[in-house]
């Protein structure tokens, strides 16, 4: 007998998780907090600077310090600490940890720990795994901090100030909206199929059903794009784009820019 693949349930739960995640992020971004109060332009530049600092650091302590800084900011920004830590350290070891695990034994060097079956953990092996895990975890935490405290339209607005072409930001914004619409449509299609299926489908039937849903979603997207175009034209769209730039740096923003600038320089200096 063929094992059931549960692809329907997996896809449905994946879609739900995505929707849930963005609702959660939106809820947090509306709460009062240190990072929420920052100018989104500053937040994006600061996140990028810290990411570059972390990726250039050759010193594990420095990366660890940046991680602690991120946790402090999460605490000061109404992000539940257990969520912030769990979200990163459950996913990273599962993924990066598993990938990096053999490196403990494979990189030649001075032995550190002797394990049964003659496996030897080497010092450079352990160091390189530590570096990878710390770097991946810290980078992910920094991005999470940005995502959780900044509404997506603020990020898009900030990008337009940072000289990203307006047309590109318009496309990003529209894509972002239509992702939710298409997710809902896909969710409906999967649910309606699931509710009408009795018993088991063969693997081939499952694949054909998935292809039908995918192809329908593609046709719907293409049709919708021409309808959206007509709707835009009828509202006066002529191919030029103007975006709002409603940001103004306040005194505290200048303070924090100085803080992040100094932090980045310190990271780069100590981490070399």
């Amino acid at each position: 007998m063929q094992r059931r693949s549960h692809f329907l349930e997996k896809t449905l739960s994946g879609i739900t998780r995505t929707l849930e995640q963005s609702l959660f992020a939106e809820a947090i971004s509306l709460q009062p907090g240190v990072f929420q109060a920052l100018d989104p332009r500053l937040k994006i530049i600061a996140t990028l600077a810290l990411l570059i600092g972390v990726s250039m650091a050759h010193n594990a302590w420095v990366i660890g310090a940046v991680y602690l800084l991120a946790v402090c900011f999460a605490l000061a920004s109404a992000i539940p600490a257990d969520f912030f830590i769990r979200r990163v350290w459950l996913a990273v070891p599962l993924f990066t940890g598993l990938i990096a695990l053999p490196a403990l034994f494979m990189i030649p060097g001075q032995p550190l720990v002797h394990l049964p079956f003659g496996l030897i953990v080497t010092r450079p092996g352990a160091q390189s795994v530590l570096f990878l895990l710390l770097r991946v975890g810290t980078s992910l935490s920094l991005v999470l901090l940005l995502i959780l405290t900044t509404p997506w339209n603020a990020v898009l607005g900030a990008l337009s100030v940072l000289r990203v072409p307006d047309i590109f930001i318009l496309i990003l914004g529209m894509t972002f909206r239509y992702i939710y619409l298409l997710l809902h449509i896909a969710n409906d299609m999967f649910l309606s199929r699931k509710s009408r299926v009795i018993g088991r489908m063969s693997g081939a039937e499952e694949r054909h059903m998935l292809a039908a849903i995918g192809a329908n979603l593609l046709s719907k997207s293409l049709n919708m794009s021409s309808e959206v175009y007509l709707a835009m034209v009828s509202r006066g769209y002529r191919g030029t784009v103007v975006t709002f730039k409603p940001f103004r740096m306040r005194r505290q923003d200048w303070f924090w820019s100085a803080f992040f600038a100094v932090t980045t320089v310190v990271i780069m200096y100590l981490g070399r």
Binding site: I15, V54, P124, S128, L217, L218, S221
Partner: protein, 371 residues
């Protein structure tokens, strides 16, 4: 063979298959931040840049104002299709990237833009895939897959009817090869990290495996699972479209024919050349000695030149480069200094090219888009 030798061979084999096994279950294409060194990330951005340029150009030529909603919806579509769990024979499931499908329907240039936007949104708003690694992720998934898949599909289906059985077959092979090629590039990017970017004592600081491990560990599982998913999904959707929505495939065929512009072709080779040079430049770290003809006075003496020409001696102090020997003295570690200088150089050249293009085009064409 002695006992000890057998044991080490067995150990090596064991760890190797462990690595393989691990990749099989975690075979994802989205590279997080931390796997690639900053220089490698920057190079990947530079590699992807000309393809973005080509995509934007193509959109301006063929689709005009209609392109904004089309690209948006196709990007949203590729985001959503990446969430589909595809059942494989045998009971496992995998994710498709959907880039091959987008390339067949939209053409590779436009698909590159749509998939890139989906990846940017994943990185910036959902934390999937790194932000510094975006260049690499876009190159692997939004450039390699669409261009390879669509080239294979075009070659396989040239002159065939819309309803031909060659089309889904071409789509399957295209999808499979496209994703396999992407896995190959990802493995090369990983495998170069321990070669080029290590601590002073040789400890890998980023992705730890050399090419000899990363290539088979990445390629074999992808060829068996992820590439199969991509090829199968693409073929099945094309098969379905043949029966239910032929217009989509017809429109795709027309879009493919209207390509071809001579200056762009020339420009492409320029970019390819530049890309090769950029990729090759970190290899300078491996090369011993000094570039031919760039000896300093001390080195000339060491090379056996008995008397230094007086003029040379005088001239050598005339011009001190701001970054002498390409190493930032304040940073101690020579390798870091070298890499930083390279980074700075690339950024400076990039800014200069950007300013020059701005001058050449009169600063137009950035915000405006013809209807």
């Amino acid at each position: 063979m002695s006992f000890q030798k057998t044991q080490t061979t067995l150990k090596r084999l064991g760890t190797y298959y462990l690595a393989l096994f691990v990749w099989l279950f975690t075979s994802a294409m989205h590279i997080p931040d931390g796997y690639l060194s900053p220089v490698a990330s920057l190079i990947m951005f530079l590699l992807v840049l000309p393809f973005w340029g080509m995509g934007v150009r193509k959109i301006r030529q063929t689709m005009n104002a209609r392109s904004v909603p089309l690209i948006s919806l196709m990007a949203a579509f590729s985001f959503v299709i990446m969430m589909f769990n595809v059942p494989l024979p045998g009971g496992t499931t995998g994710h498709a990237v959907g880039a091959a499908l987008a390339a067949i329907v939209l053409g590779p240039e436009v698909a590159a833009i749509a998939v890139s936007i989906a990846l940017i949104i994943q990185a910036f708003f959902f934390g999937d895939g790194g932000i510094l690694a975006l260049g690499a992720n876009c190159f692997n998934m939004a450039v390699v897959i669409p261009y390879v898949s669509s080239a294979v599909y075009q070659a396989f289906t040239k002159g065939t009817e819309i309803s031909s059985t060659r089309r889904p077959i071409g789509a399957a092979i295209g999808g499979w090869l496209g994703l396999t090629a992407a896995a190959f590039f990802t493995a090369v990017e990983f495998g170069l990290q321990p070669l080029l970017f290590t601590a002073a004592d040789g400890t890998p600081l980023y992705a730890p495996y050399p090419l000899s491990v990363s290539l088979p560990a990445m390629l074999v599982p992808h060829m068996l699972v992820a590439s199969v998913v991509e090829g199968m999904m693409t073929a099945l959707v094309i098969l379905y479209l043949q029966r239910s929505n032929v217009q989509v495939l017809e429109a795709a065929g027309k879009a493919g024919d209207s390509s071809g512009e001579v200056p762009l072709q020339k420009l492409r080779w320029l970019w390819v050349g530049l890309a090769v040079l950029v990729v090759a430049s970190p290899l300078g770290l491996l090369a011993p000695g000094t570039a031919w003809g760039e000896w300093s006075i001390e080195e000339l003496a060491k090379l056996g030149l008995q008397s230094i020409p007086a003029g040379l001696e005088k001239l050598s102090t005339l011009w001190g480069a701001p970054l002498a020997e390409y190493g930032l003295p304040a940073l101690g570690n020579a390798n870091v200094g070298y890499i930083l200088s390279a980074l700075l150089g690339i950024v400076l050249v990039g800014i200069m090219v950007w300013l020059l293009t701005l001058l050449a085009t009169g600063g137009s064409g950035k915000q405006k888009q013809s209807v």
